[in-house]
Symmetry: C2
Subunit: 216 residues, 2 copies
DNA sequence: CGGCTATGGATATTTTTTTATCAATACTGC
DNA sequence: GCAGTATTGATAAAAAAATATCCATAGCCG
């Protein structure tokens, strides 16, 4: 299993990237840590460490070149070459993902969708054609797609993952509420939407408790 | 600022909860760590630590009582009392969230939606009425809602957050691609969808590099 | 030119998280 | 009832991440 370090940093990088792209559009060429920190609501030291982990280097007393930062982050995330993906499960979440136009900025292009619903097959959703799931492995292989996005209900997710692996994908982005089993040469990233809600709940409870005890 | 520990553990708790609820439905009363570990594709030690952090205690040589575990996790996450929320921004993501029926299991009930689009206002989406955003603060306060879910484009998110705070919310679940500024007595949990993609990209690149170097 | 301030980079420290070890408990089978 | 095995819980160690400190560099202003 390959070791990847500094997960929290990696998660923050897309946000920097988004801000930096906006800055470049506005013609800003140099940016210093404190400004990014204010934008991110983080400590400056965190930002500096995050940026350093991409290998980029700034100018002491000045800051970083925006263009260099963008390149460094994109290179670090391998987002400098757009990779193509298929999406399986064109329900409400799948459709929402198909409709999100920001992924191009993040080096991802969703080429096609798959579903079992005859009402959806053959139609297009957000300009992507919907194919039957029965052709998933075949078409994925033929199109040489190496990433799959799973948006099907939990009980079908493992089967879809198996098909994707058979179709030759290297990575799976899993939005289904289940942990998947795949070969060692395939990477799965699971998004647990309820995980964020759990964190929010705990923080909320902790803060409420604190505020209540203060007022006593 | 309140300190919350073991974020990764908290993120995993909903997944245990889901599995445990299934088990209880099947009539299973006792569960041991190794089984949960297999299901989660985690090490057993991780599971044991996760469960311990909720304060529950098992029986050495036997395992944990499923019902006790469920109660402990729900209590730890304050999901034993359903809390009500409003959702702002009934676009594709907002609609997808409104359509997800699993939140009740997680102690969350979305009461109403808000949007600026006249075509949506007054209609219902997944059984929730859509109100104009202009009434957000007023209605939130009147309904005594303490949680807001933001699904609007990044540029409007701060304004919506301000309205929610004015309406008296304690917690904000933010799906917009921007970091929000709120008073100290309000908690924000931001979901950065691209963060997961970034992690996947880095892992993928690392694994590919490893596999390539092996084959040389 | 010289001092002042802002900034990045390197190093060190502290905290948090993960992982390992080991003793105690309870079930199983004989 | 006893030995063997599975399991939890407590403690300890290792790894990772966050945070702090200090120094060197660059621009600014008089």
């Amino acid at each position: 299993m390959s070791k990847v370090q500094k997960l929290p940093t990696i998660r923050r990088l897309p946000t920097y990237l988004h801000k930096l792209n906006e800055m470049r559009k506005s013609g800003i060429e140099i940016v210093a840590t404190p400004e990014l920190a204010r934008y991110m609501h983080l400590e400056a030291i965190v930002v500096r460490k995050d940026l350093a982990s991409t290998g980029v280097t700034g100018q002491p007393g000045v800051g970083y070149k925006v263009a260099e930062l963008i390149d460094a982050i994109r290179a670090f995330l391998s987002w400098d070459n757009t990779s193509e993906a298929v999406l399986v499960g064109a329900g409400s979440l799948g459709s929402a993902i198909l409709g999100y136009e920001g992924f191009e900025e993040y080096g991802l292009r969703i080429i096609a969708a798959f579903d079992t619903d005859p009402a959806k097959i053959g139609r297009t959703i957000h300009d992507r054609e919907v194919f039957p799931v029965s052709r998933l492995a075949e078409l994925t292989r033929r199109m040489r797609i190496h990433m799959g996005i799973i948006c099907v209900p939990a009980e079908y997710a493992q089967k879809v993952a198996d098909e994707l692996v058979e179709g030759g994908v290297w990575g799976i982005w899993n939005f289904a509420n289940v942990s998947l089993k795949v070969p060692d040469n395939v990477v799965v990233q699971r998004e647990v939407i309820a995980g964020g809600l759990a964190v929010l709940s705990v923080k909320l409870t902790a803060l409420r408790r604190e505020l209540n005890s203060e007022s006593e």
